[in-house]
């Protein structure tokens, strides 16, 4: 496997609010290798955005704080990096695009102005050169009339176009890693597919590693090499996309896969995991998924399960993997 470009080790980001300490990200570990596309999936509120914002130290603080763990980017621990150093990393080494294309661009400045700025923060080039580069980048991401678009304001563009602008802006300094936080959630299906194709192209042609946050397993299947499944602030399972989709080990992952609509399936009703994501709490005892898990047994409510290493980079956080429950797990996986 290629060298690691980003390595999270037991990262914990907590929010200190009036209603108590929220462990929004709890002991999260995973790795992104050079040229790889890694997906982070999980329902709303599972801590995907907080994880990705933590990497660039963009969590609002207060109330947020990285309380534990490390974030290695090419042998440098970003969790300990100074703000001055982070400014050099952001938008240059690691770029980020967001869930909300409609509001992620400043409404009162032109596209050209905002793109030039992104370029000139990290590259010492003239305004003229920056404009040319901006137009070039807009063309790369497939924006028609790029020469005109640079003089237009965000409200004059559609959501899909704005997300393309965000990608063009993020790619303008040729970052090694692109973090995309649900880049297609707010877009309709055809535009979604176009944006994903664009990201695939960037990954292939520029060798940019991508950390793709999504709650859509369909997106994962389409583009990711590996998947990290998060639930209530914790990683519950990770492995290669193929393995996970074919043979999910954690009951939560199984539930997520069962709830995917199947085009040729005979099922009449769409499955959904009963209940909702529990808000992470500091004083939680037991497995966080247990209240919604159909296989939960006594132990699940008393202890927090550790991560079981299942070999070949596969991990799962579930007591079903402990030896005495091994048989039961087999039943579960063959039934689905």
């Amino acid at each position: 496997m290629a060298e690691a470009i980003l390595e999270l080790k037991e990262l914990s980001t907590h929010f200190f609010t009036d209603s108590g300490e929220i462990p929004a990200v709890d002991q999260v570990s995973f790795t992104v290798h050079k040229g790889e596309v890694v997906g982070v999936v999980g329902e709303s509120g599972s801590g995907k955005s907080v994880t990705s914002l933590s990497i660039l130290q963009l969590i609002p603080k207060p109330p947020g704080k990285i309380v534990n763990g490390s974030i290695f980017y090419k042998d440098e621990n970003l969790a300990k990096a100074s703000e001055k150093r982070m400014k050099k990393i952001r938008g240059n080494e690691i770029s980020m695009i967001f869930q909300e294309p409609m509001t992620s661009l400043n409404p009162v400045f032109t596209i050209g102005n905002q793109m030039r700025e992104a370029i000139r923060i990290h590259q010492k080039v003239s305004k003229q050169t920056a404009t040319e580069k901006a137009i070039h980048m807009l063309k790369v991401v497939g924006i028609p009339r790029a020469e005109d678009i640079v003089n237009e304001y965000p409200h004059q563009l559609s959501g899909g176009m704005r997300q393309r602008v965000m990608i063009a802006m993020a790619m303008s300094s040729e970052p090694s890693l692109l973090i995309a936080d649900e880049p297609t959630t707010a877009l309709d299906v055809t535009i979604q597919a176009q944006i994903l194709d664009l990201m695939k192209k960037i990954n292939k042609e520029e060798q940019t590693s991508i950390l793709l946050i999504t709650h859509d397993l369909g997106v994962v299947a389409d583009i990711c090499d590996r998947v990290v499944v998060m639930y209530s602030g914790q990683v519950v399972e990770q492995g290669t996309t193929r393995e996970i989709l074919k043979d999910p080990k954690h009951p939560y992952t199984q539930g997520l896969i069962r709830s995917l609509p199947k085009l040729h399936g005979k099922e009449k009703k769409l499955y959904s995991i009963p209940g909702t994501v529990a808000r992470p709490r500091k004083d939680h005892i037991g497995c966080r998924f247990a209240p919604r898990c159909e296989f939960a047994f006594e132990r699940c409510f008393k202890e927090n399960p550790q991560i079981y290493n299942l070999g070949e980079g596969r991990e799962s956080r579930c007591f079903l993997h402990s030896k005495q429950e091994g048989e039961r797990l087999k039943d579960v996986t063959t039934n689905t």
């Binding site: 050099k88 980020m96 400043n106 409404p107 923060i121």
Partner: protein, 333 residues
């Protein structure tokens, strides 16, 4: 932009008609016969009838109104009863005096208010923020006349640093051109005089500017705090830009959109002439001009003074609308 301004100007027409209707009816709302009121109780019936005829008071109302509008359009604001002078030329120096004072008061209010608001939002809950917001709270609730008297007592009387009254040194009056004395002294290339005139402006500007300054500071702070939470600010930070660019470029331009309204409103209030402050500082502004006219029952002056003040208000609004459009490209009409 040009069509936008033209459209805004067209929209002003009904406003201006409404304004003139109100000022027109002032004369007719005075109890009793206007000619009688003007001439006083001892006037003979003949004299009253004569005046009614010259004033056109025996014509139907719409004819009178029509004549009134025609006069205004020709720049004729009538004649003062007291001084027998043309109001349109008599009022100019007063407007200039108020304009100059307002300009300096608002410069003070905007420069101090906006910056205090920005720093307060940037360093939220710091000692600066707490101190600035306390001062702002005191600023909005303090009576202006009290502040004015305190200023005069401390800086003019006790310390003797600044003049307490008037627009200039009364022993050596300026040869006015525009009646904006700072500008006039610069035209004369008389910089020493410009200095004295600026000194005269300091105390009244601070007295008048304090309330707008406090309001602007509070508005800027809350608006900045709101904007700093937005997604596009997160984007700017994710680009790797420094705090200065985030605040003074991206956040400020958005945050100023609501603040501009407040600035416009406050400018309008000051331009209307602050009678109390103008009286305390012996400032010959429109407020005092109209106030004195009221004392003398100089109806044409009251009528035209109010019309001019209202007109200035409307113009300020127009400027605010244009600034809006400049700040926010999303605005369409």
């Amino acid at each position: 932009m040009v069509t936008y301004i033209l459209r805004r100007l067209l929209m002003l027409i009904p406003v201006l008609i409404g304004m003139t209707l109100i000022t027109f009816s002032i004369v007719h709302l005075i109890p009793g016969n206007p000619a009688q009121v003007i001439l006083g109780e001892t006037a003979t019936a003949d004299a009253i009838a004569n005046l009614e005829k010259t004033m056109g008071l025996n014509e139907p109302y719409f004819v009178q109104y029509w004549n009134y509008i025609l006069d205004i359009l020709q720049g004729d604001l009538g004649t003062s009863l007291r001084s027998k002078a043309e109001i349109s030329s008599e009022i100019l120096p007063y407007i200039a005096a108020t304009f100059e004072l307002t300009l300096f008061a608002m410069i003070f209010a905007i420069v101090v208010g906006v910056n205090a608001g920005i720093i307060s939002a940037w360093k939220q809950n710091s000692w600066f923020d707490l101190a600035a917001m306390l001062i702002a709270l005191i600023g909005v609730s303090m009576p202006v006349f009290w502040l004015a008297l305190m200023e005069q007592w401390i800086f003019a009387q006790e310390l003797g640093w600044l003049p307490a009254y008037g627009r200039q040194d009364s022993k050596d009056p300026i040869a006015a051109i525009t009646h904006l004395y700072v500008l006039d002294s610069l035209i004369h290339l008389d910089f020493a005089r410009a200095g004295t005139i600026l000194k005269h402006l300091i105390l009244p500007s601070i007295a008048l500017g304090t309330i707008p300054m406090a309001i602007i500071a509070r508005m800027t702070r809350s608006s900045m705090l709101e904007v700093m939470k937005s997604d596009y600010i997160r984007t700017v930070r994710a680009k790797g830009s420094g705090q200065f660019l985030v605040i003074y470029k991206h956040a400020l331009k958005n945050a100023m959109i609501p603040v501009i309204t407040v600035i416009g409103l406050q400018t309008g209030v000051l331009l209307g002439g602050a009678i109390l402050t103008e009286t305390i500082f012996s400032w010959p502004g429109v407020g005092r001009y109209v106030y004195e006219a009221i004392n003398y029952r100089d109806y044409p002056v009251i009528q035209s003074g109010i019309l001019v003040i209202a007109f200035i208000f409307v113009m300020i609004n127009l400027v605010v609308d244009i600034l809006y459009k400049k700040l926010d490209p999303r605005i369409k009409y």
